[in-house]
Amino acid sequence: MKTKLGAFFPELLRHLFKKPATIKYPFEKLPIPKDFRGTPVFHSDKCIGCMICIRDCPAEAIEIIKVSDTTISSDGLEKPKKKFKMLLHNDRCIHCAQCVDSCPTQTYTMNTDYEIVAFDRHKLKIEYL
């Protein structure tokens, strides 16, 4: 194989006057793609309590708790529909969005939060009512 001493030299000099490729992360951020999987969001009005999300969640990060047997709808009337709340253990969540896929009633959506670091794991629990 032919060799050439200092083969990278032209490339190096070219880069000396080129804008660095580094993105100064906390100051500038990349655009978030269309299908980005951030943190799951729970819409309690749609939940029917089938618990399929708990069965399918690979990280066991979801807890669904029954709050009451009736729901107050937007027009102020009480309906005989069970109301559930969801407790998301975001410290365990792997952001796979399987809950979105599994849910038969589209109760879940994914938001675009990705800066979810915390010093305390307790603070990572999210309660959706």
Partner: protein, 408 residues
């Protein structure tokens, strides 16, 4: 010159993951090497037996961070066969596209690592910068950069629209130019070549006998590639060639990988341009009848094999995973013998190790007695807390701690 033993790992700057190799050296020459695994054994095969098929999909994806798609696809196509499910063609195309993009990102990563291990950080920086392009493409398609989670039983989870197609083609164009540059100019740098050529030799016969896989065996002149031998997904429709080299050394492995990059670009362009219309997935059943299946997949590092046995419930009876790196260890030991200390990281990196294999361990060597023992991480943590408590007490009692000697 006297023989002495040098431990490489479990913690070593050249290794990105824990593995222990004991080297017996004579001067700078390696006389013998011995391997110890299990520093990162996560008991994944046992865990898989306690989880249902959908949960396991994400579990297998987390076997490895670099080739996450390979394990998930391998598992997924195995389970699809068990379910007797025919995935949609559009789904398969998207799956294959992600697989090839992953190969590109893995090979570019490897090139960078090879440069870094050889002390050529400029090459490392350039290839990793270029790798960002393909990472961005993967992010556009799947929504995430590392764990794409594009697979589901019966197809793919995300669709590709025209805008994304255009972005993929644009990115591939940039990458093609850069890879050509590396192939034509990058590997003519004599100091770099001198580190790669003739290092880590393994003959064709030995490589076959030791069951090496992937670019390792292809660089020894054996065209073993699951994509051709046992076509899965849509590889039987794709135009590509199996790249081989016959130099049997690290340079050959690098050349094989760069050529495979070119093949992958070709395949990706074909896949994007010929993407069939239709649904991306079909609905999958939850339970699987009793059967067994062997699923093979050509990961960037080599052949990946999953053996899945079902028992009629929604959980597998047994999931056996063999990652390509394990298959290459035997060959690596062979390569290391009679090499130089300076070549250890290169030889080891040349198989592109991805150490995906319950309890974490730390090895301690007592400096006074020379005694070696392996302890559990929980014990080490206890020790360290005691040590620091003792130390802070000391320094609060006496102004000058006896542990710190400093002549100023």
């Amino acid at each position: 010159m006297a023989e002495f033993r040098v431990p490489i790992g479990p913690q070593h700057p050249a290794l990105k993951e824990p593995i222990s190799i004991r080297m017996t050296l004579e001067g700078e020459v390696i006389k013998d090497a011995d391997l110890k695994l299990g520093y990162n054994h996560r008991g994944l095969e046992k865990l898989a037996e306690e989880r249902n098929y959908i949960q396991n999909l994400y579990l297998t994806e987390r076997i490895c961070g670099i080739c996450s798609h390979s394990h998930a696809t391998c598992y997924c196509q195995g389970v699809e066969k068990l379910m007797e499910l025919e995935p949609t063609r559009r789904g398969l195309y998207i799956r294959t596209l992600v697989a090839e993009l992953e190969r590109i990102h893995s090979h570019l990563l490897w090139l960078g690592i090879a440069g870094h291990e050889a002390g050529f950080d400029t090459f490392f920086m350039y290839t990793w910068r270029d790798r960002e392009v393909v990472m961005d493409i993967l992010e556009i398609i799947s929504g995430n950069r590392v764990h794409y989670s594009i697979n589901t039983f019966g197809g793919a989870r995300r669709d590709i629209d025209d805008l994304q197609k255009q972005k993929i083609l644009d990115g591939l164009k940039i990458l093609k130019d850069r890879t050509k540059y590396y192939l034509n100019i990058g590997v003519t740098e004599p100091t770099f070549i001198a580190r790669l050529a003739g290092v880590g030799k393994i003959s064709k016969e030995r490589a076959v006998a030791l069951c090496a896989v992937g670019p390792t065996i292809r660089a020894s002149g054996v065209s073993r590639d699951v994509r051709k031998d046992d076509p899965y997904a849509v590889y039987d429709e794709l135009p590509f060639e199996v790249c081989t080299a016959d130099t049997c050394d690290v340079l050959g492995r690098a050349v094989v990988r760069i050529k495979e990059l070119m093949e992958s670009y070709k395949m990706c362009e074909y896949l994007v341009k010929n993407l069939p219309s239709g649904e991306i997935k079909v609905k999958a059943p939850r339970r699987v009848k009793e059967a067994e299946v062997i699923s093979r997949y050509e990961a960037p590092r080599g052949e990946n094999i999953h053996y899945i046995k079902s028992n009629g419930t929604d959980k597998p009876e047994r999931l056996k995973v063999r990652a390509p790196t394990l298959a290459n260890y035997a060959a690596t030991i062979e390569m290391l013998k009679n090499g130089f200390v300076a070549d250890i990281p290169l030889i080891f990196a040349a198989i592109d190790p991805c150490i995906c294999c319950a309890e974490r361990l730390i090895e301690l060597v007592d400096a006074r007695t020379g005694e070696e023992k392996i302890i559990l991480s929980s014990d080490l943590r206890k020790w360290s807390i005691e040590y620091y408590n003792k130390k802070t007490n000391c320094s609060s009692l006496r102004a000058k701690s006896s542990e710190i000697i400093w002549p100023l």
